[in-house]
Point group: C2
Amino acid sequence: MAQYSAQLDGLFDALADPTRRGVIRRLGRGPASVGDLAGEFPMTLPSFLKHVRALESAGIIRTSKTGRVRTCVLNRERLALAEDWLAEQRRIWEERTDRLEQFVAGTEEDQS
Amino acid sequence: MAQYSAQLDGLFDALADPTRRGVIRRLGRGPASVGDLAGEFPMTLPSFLKHVRALESAGIIRTSKTGRVRTCVLNRERLALAEDWLAEQRRIWEERTDRLEQFVAGTEEDQS
DNA sequence: CGGATAGTTAGCGCAAGGGCTAACTATTGA
DNA sequence: TCAATAGTTAGCCCTTGCGCTAACTATCCG
């Protein structure tokens, strides 16, 4: 559970950057090389590579090198982890508002 | 659109911390004071207060002070922004895998 | 009034994040 | 073979993040 939390740390942290979100969006349409990806962002290759590494160590992408080209692919399962956490918070919230509505309904009944 | 991106920066950044996620989960069950919330986390009040401020400036919670007590409430709409972004990435991904499947189906047809 | 309570501010130390340049390795292809 | 290409590493700078303590303000209550 502590590990689950640490995974979410890395995951959300990776998402908290426009460059990295841009990479995710791009990789949704299919794999791409580091160089091709980098071309879309206004920074040097070494700087960009750090973002790639960040995404990789968060588990959001997987990369492999053939020849001198490193190819990146999206790992949807990891993104689903973030979706799941948010969905659970929604569940907790909605459970409570449901109870609140029932309470209000009960109160109205008492007053009638 | 640039502003939308900056909002997501703050949003995901706020989510990238176990203390702040804990506060969100707790506030899902209903409003609470700063002191009550702080009691659940192993840090000093001033340190904790920074997290509260972070959540507030990300728009995830709203706070108000009456007397000497500051009460915090969750702002679900803001969390929905994060859900929406993730849902869009899923859409992009699924659109592509759909096309891929159609392509494969077409290829099999050719070979028959 | 005066002590206890709830929060707040200021400032400090340290680690990490995100950009850069310079210099390097490993492939590829003419 | 050798120049171009694709990525990689090291290291620097500056800002930000997150914990702390000390000291302060603003209520509340006996």
